[in-house]
Symmetry: D2
Subunit: 155 residues, 4 copies
């Protein structure tokens, strides 16, 4: 198993205060990396994450969106992202991945070795990466993966 690297986020939406994996240790974390102009994210991955947020809201799962802009940087600024979040009625916490230095790939995206967007990652109670999927994932499989991790005894 691989320990999930910490998030590097420059700004949060839908979050009272910054979220860190360190502080969330002991709880499963569903991390959805997306770009607001990625068609597969908008049509599938992002609404799926919203559904997971709603389905598991009474569990101790923490859902986090991560805006991992690696192309069209001028087109997907935080100002545009904020309007996107509003228009698509997204209510789960969403962080802006920290821009990379000398590379278009942002920092968290690099740390996780993500191949693109949408990416869905499940981090277990112990902080390890339980699932790392690129592209479209079925709702049934995602529900099962989350529930299996929730069933693990904390601690």
């Amino acid at each position: 198993m691989t320990l999930a690297p910490e998030l590097a986020v420059t700004r949060w939406f839908n979050a009272g205060e910054p979220l860190t994996l360190a502080a969330l240790r002991g709880r499963p974390v569903l991390l959805h990396a997306f770009q607001m102009l990625c068609p597969g994210c908008v049509a599938h991955g992002t609404p799926q994450t919203q559904r997971a947020f709603e389905l598991f809201k009474h569990s101790d799962l923490q859902v986090i969106g991560l805006h991992t802009v690696f192309e069209h940087h001028d087109a997907m600024t935080p100002v545009s992202l904020e309007a996107f979040i509003h228009e698509y009625r997204l209510t789960f916490p969403i962080g802006v991945d920290q821009p990379g230095e000398d590379t278009p790939i942002p920092v968290t995206m690099q740390r996780y070795g993500m191949q693109g967007t949408p990416t869905i990652i499940l981090i277990g109670r112990n902080g390890n990466i339980v699932h790392h999927g690129f592209g479209q994932q079925s709702d049934m499989a995602l529900g099962a993966i989350i529930a299996a991790e929730l069933a693990n005894t904390p601690g």
Copy 2:
């Protein structure tokens, strides 16, 4: 919790020999009640059950379809059902619910107090009814319910 009543089946498709809940005790059982001319079954419930059968095929979940004809009896005979199973490429075991006496409701449907089709029931390892849902169920919720039961230690 309610102990799941035994199945009353007059004929099986896609099954080597008759299945009974008694013999399956210790394994979770997903029971999908449908009618081949029920639009909500054909469009949603039955393909969803096929997806569950494929997703969990490496687990010890037993998926069972049950043809619970309670209307249009002459239109949904076993001969028609067999063609339906062939055309829709269904590969999970499917039983024909035993016709009722002095009632259009078949026997297993009565025993479970099902309200109609599609119905999806999850029977736990201990033989109890864990979930009983009538109508459309989301794939994510169903995946989660099954995975949670699979995580229970047998015995």
Copy 3:
């Protein structure tokens, strides 16, 4: 252009009296050939025909469904078809294609040289076959084909 052969129908549903192309000459006719256990018909072709029936109900288009059973004959009898029509809320006229002699292919299906189901055929005001499509057809293309024929001056 090919003149559309006459229909050979043994029984009608949703029709006051038998329909013939001869009597319909001068009006465009949309002919949808299907089988009640053909998944592509149930999911796409038949509901599309119902949508066309509703969209063009104030025009002089005549919509006709044709149950062209060429396989699983025992499974798709008129009794089963009647329940299918009821359950799927089909309201356009539907005829049962006359069974073939010494062949599983019914008579009208043979006359038109249909390759399978679903098939959608548009017959023009002059009785010629304007469009003959096998398989899935887009709603936009079908709407356009029908409207173009409706725009032709009768007579």
Copy 4:
């Protein structure tokens, strides 16, 4: 009938040179008004317009997209629109509606009295507005409306 007001466009994408209704007189024009962060546009109206562009490409129909930003102006700049067009593989000509003075509503949107996005307008060969629809439109109805206008004799 109402004569369609001229377009007021500050920038074009997918167009060799600026398009005007004056120059297009004699040809039917399909005008799709959208915003890149309008969920109903992205999921339905804009891909539908792309389908119409492809279906009728051998006719003399002119398809035009119009980016009518009336909210979140900072979030939907031409820079963001250009990335949107690229990512969604839109190939029909798209104009940016001229910003309004003392109003968030852009100029062409005002001239047509559009209620919001998505809006689909069909302008006839004679320059009149043939159809003006706000919200979701069925593919079949749109195909029919366009084909009916195409059938009108030019001149």
